[in-house]
Each structure stands twice: as structure tokens, then as C-alpha cells.
Symmetry: C2
Subunit: 421 residues, 2 copies
């Protein structure tokens, strides 16, 4: 007996899911553990940078006024009264024709308002005293980095939701963030269903296959930036599945099952959602693969029933679960990044449904080029290994030819997209 | 007193470093911890996939010969003798006009050689027996996935050095790799030198700045895929630095210091290398920033003396330390990936040196476009936060205009490049 399901459009499905999006929370982690996390608050300058006037080069700090008569034929001589490295302070205040030898990054001595670069300075010594002479007029401020030149205290330098990369790590350190406010990783519960599933360590037996979806989805969850709580495998038995799902939901932020959502005779997820009292947002989407993706909502939590078919499962996660998780991670472009690329294959056969084809995106002479990463049979996991993108082939009455421009979704990317694409 | 250094070309510097590249070693980790690591061995199929003949769709397994007379006007009737889901086996051997109701993924019953899809089957029942009838001739093998169709036992499916993504996780699970051979993370020792440096938690004081390079480099090391052993900060004092460096080298695979490599009066790294008996491969490179990068070699270990200037430090790491670490991670394209992009800014001023400009690489209508991510002052860390690439502006006698094509190096990328670029 085939249950009748009405497919909805992809955009409508995304909208129904995103109605239940929510913000995540903050946790403070050591700066040593913050790389690769997402800022849950704007990063503000806690001080001016630089926070004192400093020398950007090695040289001699001077009073610029003393060089006003300098020229090729009129060398001005200064007495070197001190010598400081970065991090040191001179206790000398410069008088007329006095200078302090100064290293890159050191604070300007009191009275100094310019730096003579080493290349332009001639050093001499006489009677145990050191001298420097220069033949060029220096303006006030020449070769000085002034306080606040790079950043002003209070300024927002990086926005909330940013992926913490090495540059942001440097900024966090500069501004004294030894603890960093990052988005707490949402916890994703995961069950695999299917009597045909063996554990990874089990030997193959006729009719059964090893559970690969759980490992694939776990990696997808981690790639998004969330944490996995894997509860294990469930047989195709209604009561067992119901009890397991019901008790696991409380421990997680969102819940994913793989398998059990088709209209096959052993697919119990729909009845489980019903018995739980969950509101089913949709159970069929006009797309390939992933058409049987089911999403339900229960007491503020989303339950994702992904197909047991690996590629349908993969696509269903990226389109529907990803933006929910990325939103919880403070990211305001939570959807897969969409770009245009040149199609590097022929798809002569028309298909009434929008297809998401696992693809390899490369760059040739500065242009994106997209090639399907394997036969697009829905039971082949091989093509997922080489996939860094999903090519979108809109449904319709015609095929697609080598060389046309198509949309692609980037899988290994922190940039993301807002909705609608 | 300025020490005279002779700059060498970038390519020559890379070659001198890469002469000392070495392979890393393997460690076996649980499949649950393998996401994001690098395979240290080829991934081979440990069995055929599928490893039995199976139904790719829900339907009825039949003997194709029984449909040879089927047509729109001649419906062929089968008795349904069994009903199996995925993971179940039928103990029935099909006789003439017998069929087994079969679910996606289930093993074909003995005697069956085709599957009638559900949509083409008409189900009836009579006297407590179930029947199915079909009006279409089915060929031998129709709707059957044969053993080994997707992969053959022994076949290499993914090469050594691959970044383990969700698709590869699925393959590892499929082939029973509950332990996965991954490249052991090289350990990178790290010291920051500079009397001007404060710890991140310390309040600012005149003349001093917080150490940001260590956090930046730590993140760069992690982004490459290696582990950091951070030893702390050192003052600009020869004996302290020498003792610290000498005793730390033994604990790590490569060693990085930041600062202390200029020709400033408090830059001790050159003398430290000398006292250690290390062979200096170069101490000046014809590039900006990063010209004072120094690399030395001691008893099979590379010592990287990176500039204390944040952007020079950043670039020096990516050009010289990265390929050494990526090689240890089994990756055969260990250098930064180089692509072409359209320049989205003017650089009117010629510069005799090849410049690496921190940039933001975007995609516009399928084309790479590169924009400098900030003023390219070498003491500004701000521009590093927005940088996902380094634009290469070759040294010469002319500037660069908006719209020309330039080379860019991708920083957030697992693909990499071989040498020479």
C-alpha cells in the first residue's frame, strides 16, 4: 500500500524549516582553543593600536625642527643620548640636536616627532660620545606610527559569526582576549535505522551492508561546526525505534535519523513522528536525490528524517539541517554558498526534478569549472569522496550541454549564503 | 653596525628548504576521530560493492524469462511467495511465475534476475494468497545492482594524502575501517622572542605590546594539520634564548621562532644558530614582506626563524614551513594552491621586490576576483583577519592596474600545489 505524499518545492521546504531556526548560546574558551570556532560577539578593539607612538623602522628618533636647515651640503649633527630596543623606554627627553637610537616597534622618546631611517644616518663617535648626522629635512611625523593609527579603542573589527582564522587569532591576542566568546557547538543527535546495517567492525554477511551514513553525517555535522551525539543503530522495528528516539531527543539540540522515511513497508519514521506528537513540516520534496526527506517539529526541536540512501542523506543534510546549525553558530549566511560555474560534462537527458549532482569544482584560468564526481547513481558512495560541491540542474524539459553556466553549491567553505540563493 | 646579507630568490629559498623535506609516520585512529585528518595509505576496497546482487528499488524480484510474453494486452501474473526488507534474506528459490516482494537494498532471491518496479506492478489477492501482475517484458538484469558494480575488491579508491571528508568517511565505514591509517601530526615547536612582548592576559604598558604572533602561527600550524608545542616568550637576551632553543629542539619535528632575525641590535637568532652548529640555508629572501626570514638546518631538523613582524611572519610560514609540514602529512601537493584572479585594485607604484599582498578572494559570475584585504602596512594585523589569500605582485619596474590578471595563493584550501608553481 503506497502512502500518497505531495512533494513541495525546495525553497518552500527550506522556509518551513527555517521558521524554527533559533540562536545558539555563547561559551568562553581559552584563546588556545578558539581557532576554527565562530565568534558569538563582535570583536572590539579594547585599546588603540598602536597604543603609543612608535617607530615603524630601525633608526634615530629626533626633533624634526632640528633638521630644518639640513641639505646635501649641510649635514646636521645629533648627539646620541640613548639606545632602546622594542619594549624598552627611554628616560631621556630630547633637547636640541639630541637623538635616541631606536629599534622597530619601540616607543618614541619624549620630545621626538620624527625618525631618521638607518640608511640616511651617518654614525660617528668622538671622545666616547656617539653622534649621528643627516642631510635631509624631516617633517613632523615622518616615520612615526601614531597611537590609534591602525585601530581605535571601541571600534568593531570583526563581526559576530566570523570563523576564527589565524588573522583573527592575532587580533584576539592583540586585544587581550585570553578568553574568547564563541558560539557553543549545537549538539546533534544521530540514529541510523535499518535491519540491513552492520557495525563498521563487523564482517560482511549476505544481504547486509555496513552502516556508512552515520559516519558520513557525523563528518558533515563536524564540518558545519557542530557536535555529534551518536546513539547507534536501530533495527526496523517500530517499538524499539520509538522508545529510542523518544528518550534521546531531550539530550540534543536537533535530532537526525537516517533511513526509515521512505514509503517502504519497514519505514517507521512517519508513524514515530505521529506518536511523538510532532508536527511534520514536509515529507516529500520535489528534488533528486533526497525527495523523501522528512522534517518534523516537536516542542521547539527539529527532527530530520533523512533518507537511508547515502547521497539523498548527504544532500538532505546540507540543504535543510546545515542552515539551522549554522544559525545556532551565530552565522548570518547559514546556507551553502552558491556560485556560477561552467559545466564540464553533458547531461542530455531532461529530468522533471531539480537535481543536486555531487561534483568536483576546479578553477581553470580563474574560472570555476564543475564536473560530476562520479556516476550519479543514488546508491554509490564513491562519488561523494571526490565531491567538493553540488551542481544544481534545474528540472525541466531539456538537458544540459557541456559549456553552459550552472549554479554550484560549495561544500568546503566558510563563507556561506543568505536565503534565498 | 649593519650585517651584510645577500637576498636569494623565492624559488631558490623554497628549494633549499625542501631539500630537507621528509615523510611523516602513520598512526591508527578510530574512524570516529578520522574526519579532517589525512590518509597515510591508499584506501582500498576490502570487498566488492555491492557485495551481493541487490535490488536498487522497491519492487518484485522475478525470473525475467517469465515476462517474455508480456504486453499491454497480455498481463503476466506471479504468485508472491515472500516479502523481504533490506537486510533480510529470502529462503525461497523462485519457480516459474513466482515472485518475492523486495525492498531497496535487499539481496536478490535465488533464481531471480530482474526486478519489477512498484509502479509497474499490479497487486491483487485471492483466497489468502497474494499476486502481482505485469504487462512489460523485463530483460535479464533489469533493475538489479550486480555484485562489484560500484567497486571491486582490491581497487584503490582514494589515494594516500587525501583529506578525509564526509564522503571518504562513508567509504571507510563501508569497507570496515574501524581504525584508519592517518598521517601522524608533526609537532611544531614555537617560541616568541622580544622584550616588548606581553602575555595575552597582561594589561598594556607603555612601549610594550601583547604577543600576537604566537597565536597567529599556532592557528596557521593547526590549519595546515599539524600540532603546536608552544614554549612561551623569550626576552631579547642571548643566553636565555640559546638555552631555551637548544633544549626545546629535541622535543619537536620542526622548530619555529618569531622575532629576533632582523639585523637589529637585539636580534640574536643568527648567533644562536651559529652556536648550535646549525647550517643556515638562507637569511634573506628577495620578497616583501618576509625578507629577513631565516631558515637553518640542524641534525635533520629545520629551524625557521620568522620575522617578528606579523605579516612577514605569516607569509614566511606559508611559503617555507607549510610545504615541509604538508609533506610530513603524506600530501604530495604540499604548497599553497596557486590560481589566477582579476585584480580589483590599483597598485600604481612599482616595487623591485615580489610582494605577497594579504587579500580577499571572491567569486563574481564564476570568476576569481582578488582585493587587498587592508592597507599593506607590514605592522597592521587587521588586514590578516579578512585575508583568505595572498596576491603575488612580481617585482619590477611597473605597477599593476585594476582589471589585470594576477596570481593568488589560496590560504583556506586543502587542494594545494606541487612545485614549481
Amino acid at each position: 500500500m503506497l502512502e500518497k505524499r505531495t512533494p513541495i518545492q525546495i525553497g518552500e521546504a527550506v522556509n518551513r524549516v527555517m521558521k524554527f531556526k533559533k540562536n545558539g548560546s555563547t561559551e568562553w574558551v581559552s584563546i588556545n582553543e578558539s581557532f576554527g570556532r565562530f565568534l558569538s560577539d563582535d570583536l572590539r578593539a579594547t585599546s588603540d593600536v598602536p597604543h603609543f607612538d612608535r617607530a615603524p623602522y630601525d633608526g634615530f628618533a629626533i626633533r624634526s625642527i632640528d633638521t630644518s636647515e639640513a641639505s646635501q651640503s649641510n649635514s646636521i649633527m645629533f648627539e646620541v643620548v640613548d639606545h632602546i630596543g622594542a619594549g624598552m623606554l627611554s628616560d631621556k627627553e630630547l633637547g636640541p640636536n639630541q637623538t635616541v637610537r631606536i629599534m622597530t616597534g619601540a616607543q618614541m622618546p619624549v620630545g621626538a616627532d620624527a625618525v631618521v631611517m638607518l640608511e640616511l644616518a651617518k654614525e660617528t663617535s668622538q671622545d666616547g660620545k656617539k653622534y649621528m648626522s643627516v642631510k635631509k629635512v624631516h617633517k613632523k611625523g615622518e616615520n612615526v606610527s601614531y597611537r590609534g593609527e591602525d585601530a581605535k579603542e571601541g571600534e568593531v573589527l570583526v563581526s559576530k559569526g566570523a570563523f576564527i582564522n589565524p588573522g583573527i587569532q592575532a587580533m584576539l591576542a592583540t586585544f587581550g582576549y585570553d578568553k574568547v566568546p564563541v558560539a557553543k557547538k549545537p549538539i546533534v543527535g544521530l540514529y541510523a535505522t535499518g535491519t540491513e546495517l552492520l557495525e563498521v567492525h563487523e564482517p560482511l554477511v549476505p544481504g547486509k551492508i555496513r552502516n556508512s551514513n552515520s559516519y558520513m553525517i557525523s563528518a558533515q555535522i563536524q564540518r558545519v561546526g557542530a557536535d555529534v551525539r551518536y546513539f547507534g543503530q536501530l533495527p526496523d522495528d517500530f517499538d524499539t525505534c520509538f522508545e529510542a528516539v523518544a528518550s534521546a531527543i531531550d539530550e540534543v539540540d536537533i535530532f537526525i535519523t537516517t533511513g526509515g522515511v521512505s514509503v517502504g513497508d519497514f519505514d517507521y519514521l512517519p508513524q514515530i513522528y505521529e506518536k511523538l506528537g510532532a508536527e511534520v513540516l514536509f515529507n516529500k520534496v520535489a528534488m533528486r536525490p533526497g525527495s523523501v526527506t522528512t522534517v518534523a517539529h516537536l516542542d521547539g526541536k527539529l527532527l530530520f528524517g533523512l533518507s537511508g540512501n547515502p547521497s539523498a542523506c548527504y544532500v538532505g543534510f546540507e540543504l535543510f539541517a546545515r542552515p539551522i546549525l549554522r544559525t545556532m553558530l551565530s552565522i548570518d549566511s547559514p546556507h551553502l554558498r552558491k556560485e556560477k560555474a561552467v559545466l564540464n560534462a553533458d547531461f542530455p537527458k531532461a529530468n522533471p526534478f531539480t537535481r543536486f549532482v555531487r561534483s568536483s569544482l576546479t578553477i581553470e584560468d580563474g574560472r570555476l569549472v564543475v564536473t560530476p564526481s562520479g556516476l550519479d547513481k543514488s546508491n554509490i558512495i564513491m562519488s561523494l569522496a571526490g565531491a567538493n560541491s553540488l551542481m544544481i540542474l534545474p528540472g525541466g524539459t531539456r538537458g544540459f550541454e557541456h559549456g553552459v553556466e550552472v549554479d554550484v553549491l560549495l561544500l568546503e567553505d566558510q563563507t556561506g549564503n543568505q536565503w534565498p540563493w
